[in-house]
Symmetry: C2
Subunit: 201 residues, 2 copies
């Protein structure tokens, strides 16, 4: 089928990426062979190698698409007008993450990306930059909560933002690895902490 449309090419790419995502979710990056991806996509070796030059390129593409989605939500939460109360912003973030922790969600893939980034400097740099951006969203959230009087005026927004961001993977990990509590319960815990009796300082 020569001279096919651009949409056809894009669709083929997506077809391969979707197949790869399913395989990677099922077996992990390393235990998935190119043949697995190729069979899952219902294509031939040659066809797949026309669209992706190597397995590594497939892994990288998946990694980027997996993580890009979350930033959009976090950006929305941080920029909401009027500013969202802390608890509500966290509620929304937790619900999003919760929706991605199942076997079909992307969070298990994210864990694999973390592991992969420990050995792949290029991927590590991508991750560092993206997660830095994630954190900056939560710093912004903290700053605005501070202005709204939800946090002490002298608090370090950078520090609070880091903690708020840390709550998210902390929740997701427990959900996936340790049969953790549901988002509602987790949020109750956060609320209780926020309502703390001023023991610090």
């Amino acid at each position: 089928m020569p001279r096919v449309s651009d949409e056809h090419l894009a669709a083929r790419r997506r077809q391969i990426l979707d197949a790869a995502r399913r395989c990677f979710l099922r077996n992990g990056f390393h235990a998935t062979s190119m043949q697995d991806v190729i069979s899952e996509a219902g294509l031939s070796v040659g066809a797949v190698y026309r669209y992706f030059g190597s397995k590594h390129e497939l892994v990288t593409s998946i990694a980027e698409s997996v993580l890009d989605g979350a930033d959009e939500l976090f950006a929305t939460l941080a920029a909401a007008e009027p500013p969202l109360p802390l608890v509500e912003a966290l509620d929304r973030a937790l619900q999003f993450v919760e929706s991605q922790t199942g076997p079909d969600g992307v969070f298990p893939l994210a864990i694999q990306v973390w592991a992969e980034s420990l050995r792949d400097p290029a991927l590590a740099e991508f991750i560092t930059r993206l997660y830095g951006r994630f954190r900056s969203r939560f710093v912004e959230l903290a700053r605005r909560a501070q202005q709204a009087g939800e946090l002490p005026a002298d608090a370090d927004a950078e520090a609070v933002g880091a903690v708020l961001f840390g709550l998210i993977p902390g929740f997701a990990l427990q959900r996936v690895l340790a049969a953790g509590p549901d988002p509602k319960t987790y949020l109750d815990g956060i609320r209780a902490l926020l309502a703390g009796h001023g023991v610090a300082e």
Copy 2:
């Protein structure tokens, strides 16, 4: 050396496990070949296979030893007499984790164990049980903080414990993947949250 002492056998095992740990830290479980481990240990193929029946057994042994250490600390923190103030307990937990986030620490290995557990039901069950125990330590911490008046009397200790525990991997992940703040800054953020202005109920 036939008929060697039990200490010799144990030392050989440790020799192999240490070599494997170094290799796994350097290249990850999957990208490390048995030959890598064997060369690193300075032994022969046959010698290593005398002590460990398969590569998988090596991975499992490493995983267990990596995670067992942390529980000891968490148990100590939860059982301290008199009860530790929340902030101080978290401080100690963060400092411990911090000491394990470097290239020589075990935290990078823990990330790989997480990824591995997604495909290995036996490992997953081990992880679930262990992390459940981790969380229960923090629940105990929360309960005692509650009795000391550091948390609202009507708070759900289970929920708060889960959040407190979640702070730990949340910190470590940022430290390893996203050039996150140091433990002191992170703790400042936690303090600011605890001092929150009672916005939640």
